[in-house]
């Protein structure tokens, strides 16, 4: 019987469907036939398991390098194969047997069944993350099962059939498979042909009514054919090309830092059924935002592990996306030990008031209000710090300041005169007493909230936020710094612009992980091109927090009303970016898997991330600006006054240019880029 070879999967399926009526049993090879791997070389998946075992050994006080574990595994597996070869025709290995030997070597006498199970679970989790079912062939397999045929999955593999069943289950077609057979169970493989008579006997099959499909011309072609089984071979040219592309990137990544991130993204690509037509916003989320978020949360994981921090608070509202990404990706990257995570309901508006309850209103905190050009006078100070203007009026009178006198340089040449009076007010002890009195209830409610979520149970906590000046952390620290049980604050921002110097001290600091103005990182500073887009892209779908209020039963969180015009606009913006967020979350598990397989540290992706910032923010396509530019960006902190145009000239930004300028002015992007470079150098 001639072995038929197909170069496209759909032609194989069509042909198999035509001849299927002649067969009662259909058997399939598993790897590279029913399931394909994202990577070109299966042994790449052994590396993360080596790292996992090394990390476990460290917990037992044993020092093993991951590479050494990997090497030991290869040696023990090879020895087992040689030993099997003495008794059987095939040189097969069985995972539980050789892995037990590996663990006995590494952990000396401390090996247990639980440990072997843990390692096996991780190995299978990595396999699952890297395996994708071939949609068309799996659909045909399911059809054959529905027609009542015996469907076998046969694999020459070190994983026993119980493990293969778990992989098939994860791929979603376990219910359509009658039997799963692995060479690891009997050491009789397809390669020698010994598997086929064994299966015939075991399941009572007729070779003349048996069709086998696989990718190996010998194991899946010649051997079954010799036994009278009809065989079809798939040599998928398209799949071969995909792997060739990956292999090229993999080779480049070994020698070039730039290509590491690109190879990483190639590994993250959706395959087969995962690769459906999606809106362009989804693809922006998948290809642009996801690697940035992934690298950021991985950097947080690395820093917290290094510093021994046991708790991370993702601060609302951007922290919602970071936390979700973390949950989807980080357990695969660091399966051994991760800090606990929690979402913290905070905002600048909600914390500004409680921050004054013990220290009063400081000049630095008041100055933060006037960084926003929409804030003009004392009313805006009261709005931000949630102060009652009427109760403070006597102090204004005492220092001859009217509530509408401009305190911001954007509104009058004479602002300095009024600002000096404002400073006098801040220095008035009675004024500060009144401020503390007014803000104390919200601070008390905040303390109750923080106590309820266990904020004070840790000596060190990490606080994660998108950026940019660390104001939320500043206000939060002000609100709790009077307590003896306050933890040390380790602030990890995605980008730190440091518009106002942060009062850094050992117990309270911020650090920008993708960009920090304090470090000379011009490429990272390109994040500053479009800060609002990051905020909109990562924002949680719930309303902003306005404050904390005490109730009879404790406290309540006061959220912003979403029924007004501003709330409706925010809702609309969230709906618009929903597919972008979906792209970020769909990419998260693949980021985790790619990171686990490659073992890259977050900083290793930095050159590629810088390239992404360069190409997407500094040199974007006009359509990308049209797509990504937010429809409305809302921030209650930023007042609604219109600054005096002579004093306030808003900085021109590339992303605020008209679409026609972006489309037709060939030097526009380069001009802005060079301008940005000079600005950074000047600063």
């Amino acid at each position: 019987m001639k072995i038929k070879t197909f170069y496209k999967l759909n032609t194989l399926v069509k042909y198999a469907d035509k001849i299927a009526a002649d067969y009662d049993t259909i058997s399939f090879d598993l790897f590279d036939t029913l399931l394909i791997r994202r990577v070109h070389f299966p042994d790449m998946l052994k590396a993360p398991v080596g790292r996992f075992i090394a990390a476990k050994a460290k917990a037992y006080g044993l020092f093993w390098k991951p590479e050494k574990v990997h090497q030991l595994r290869d040696e023990i597996e090879a020895a087992q194969r040689a030993k099997t070869g003495e008794r059987f025709e095939d040189h097969e290995a069985c995972y539980p047997d050789f892995m037990r030997d590996v663990l006995s070597h590494v952990f000396e006498d401390q090996i247990s069944d639980e440990l072997l199970q843990e390692v096996t679970d991780y190995e299978l989790a990595i396999e699952n993350a890297m395996l994708v079912p071939r949609t068309e062939l799996v659909a045909w397999l399911q059809k054959q099962h529905q027609q009542g045929k015996t469907v076998l999955v046969i694999s020459d593999m070190y994983l026993p059939s119980e493990h293969l069943k778990r992989l098939i289950e994860h791929a979603g077609f376990a219910d359509a498979v009658t039997h799963v057979v692995s060479s690891a169970d009997t050491f009789k493989a397809k390669a020698s042909g010994a598997a086929f008579p064994m299966l015939k006997e075991k399941f009572g099959l007729e070779p003349q009514r048996w069709l086998h499909i696989g990718d190996n011309p010998i194991s899946d072609g010649a051997r079954p054919n010799e036994f009278g089984i009809r065989s079809l071979i798939i040599k998928d040219a398209s799949e071969k090309t995909r792997k060739l592309v990956f292999r090229i990137y993999y080779g480049f990544a070994l020698g070039s830092d730039f290509w590491k991130g690109r190879m990483f993204q190639q590994m993250m690509l959706p395959l087969e059924n995962e690769n459906q037509p999606r809106p362009s916003l989804y693809n922006e989320g998948y290809h642009f935002f996801a690697p940035l978020v992934g690298s950021y949360v991985q950097a947080i994981a690395e820093r917290t592990r290094d510093l021994g921090i046991k708790k991370i608070f993702f601060m609302s509202r951007e922290g919602w996306t970071f936390k979700k990404f973390w949950e989807l990706a980080m357990p695969t990257v660091f399966p051994d030990d991760l800090p606990q995570i929690e979402y913290l309901y905070v905002s600048r508006m909600a914390l500004a008031g409680p921050g004054c309850a013990y220290q009063g209103l400081t000049q630095t905190n008041a100055d933060i209000v006037f960084l926003a050009p929409g804030n003009r006078d004392f009313r805006d100070v009261c709005k931000v710090f949630n102060l009652n203007l009427q109760l403070l009026a006597p102090f204004l009178d005492r220092h001859q300041l009217k509530y509408d006198d401009p305190l911001s340089p954007f509104y009058s040449d004479e602002f300095i005169k009024y600002y000096a009076r404002f400073i006098d007010i801040l220095e008035d002890a009675e004024f500060q007493t009144e401020v503390k009195r007014q803000t104390r209830p919200s601070n008390d409610a905040l303390q109750l909230y923080l106590e309820q979520i266990g904020f004070f149970d840790y000596t060190d906590v990490a606080l994660a936020d998108v950026g940019w000046m660390g104001t939320i952390q500043r206000f939060l620290y002000d609100a709790v710094k009077h307590r003896d049980d306050k933890p040390r604050f380790h602030g990890f921002l995605m980008g730190a612009s440091r518009g106002i110097p942060f009062a850094t001290r050992p117990g309270n600091y911020v650090e920008g992980l993708l960009f920090d103005y304090d470090r000379c990182d011009f490429a990272g500073s390109l994040m500053m091109y479009a800060q609002d887009i990051f905020e909109e892209a990562f924002r949680a779908p719930h309303s902003g927090l306005n404050g904390y209020q005490q109730t009879d039963s404790g406290f309540e969180l006061l959220f912003r009303d979403s029924d007004d015009d501003t709330g409706r606009k925010e809702l609309k913006q969230n709906e618009y970016f929903a597919s972008l967020k979906q792209g970020i979350f769909d990419a998260a598990p693949r980021f985790g898997a790619a990171s686990a397989v490659m073992g890259y540290k977050s900083w290793m992706l930095k050159p590629w991330l810088n390239y992404l910032l360069f190409t997407k923010l500094a040199f974007p396509k006009t359509d990308e600006v049209a797509t990504l530019k937010h429809q409305s960006h809302l921030d209650d902190f930023h007042g609604k006054n219109k600054p005096w145009t002579q004093a306030f000239k808003p900085e021109k930004q590339l992303w605020n240019q008209s679409l026609s300028a972006l489309r037709w002015n060939p030097f526009l992007r380069l001009n802005y880029y060079i301008g940005h470079a000079f600005k950074m150098l000047r600063r």
């Binding site: 170069y7 011309p217 998928d236 040219a237 398209s238 071969k240 090309t241 995909r242 060739l244 592309v245 090229i248 990137y249 480049f252 070039s256 830092d257 730039f258 290509w259 590491k260 690109r262 993204q265 190639q266 690509l269 959706p270 395959l271 690769n275 459906q276 037509p277 999606r278 809106p279 362009s280 916003l281 989804y282 693809n283 998948y286 290809h287 642009f288 990182d521 011009f522 490429a523 990272g524 618009y576 597919s579 792209g583 930095k606 050159p607 810088n610 390239y611 992404l612 360069f614 190409t615 997407k616 040199f619 990308e624 049209a626 797509t627 429809q631 380069l670 880029y673 060079i674 470079a677």
Partner: protein
């Protein structure tokens, strides 16, 4: 606004490339970076690498076909070469 959520593209395009961040874009970056390159880009893509990547993406399919068709012969040649030392 409508456009961004309705027009659909596959996340991995027909050339096994990233939709919206294709290799041609790395080429564009390479050209711009010749004029104004500031920052840590890990040495950049390198012209030779860039050309190979471009060829692999855009001429990879015929290459894949050739590899498949001549796979056995290539393997045989490699085996002979190895045997000769």
């Amino acid at each position: 606004m409508k456009k961004a959520n309705t027009i659909s593209y596959r996340t991995m395009n027909a050339h096994f490339d990233l939709t919206g961040s294709e290799v041609t874009r790395v080429g564009k970056y390479y050209l711009i970076s010749r004029i104004a390159k500031i920052g840590n880009y890990g040495g950049g893509p390198g012209l030779k690498y860039l050309i190979i990547v471009f060829i692999t993406h855009y001429l990879g399919r015929p290459l894949g076909w050739m590899l498949i068709f001549f796979e056995d012969r290539i393997r045989m040649l490699l085996r002979k070469k190895r045997a000769k030392g």
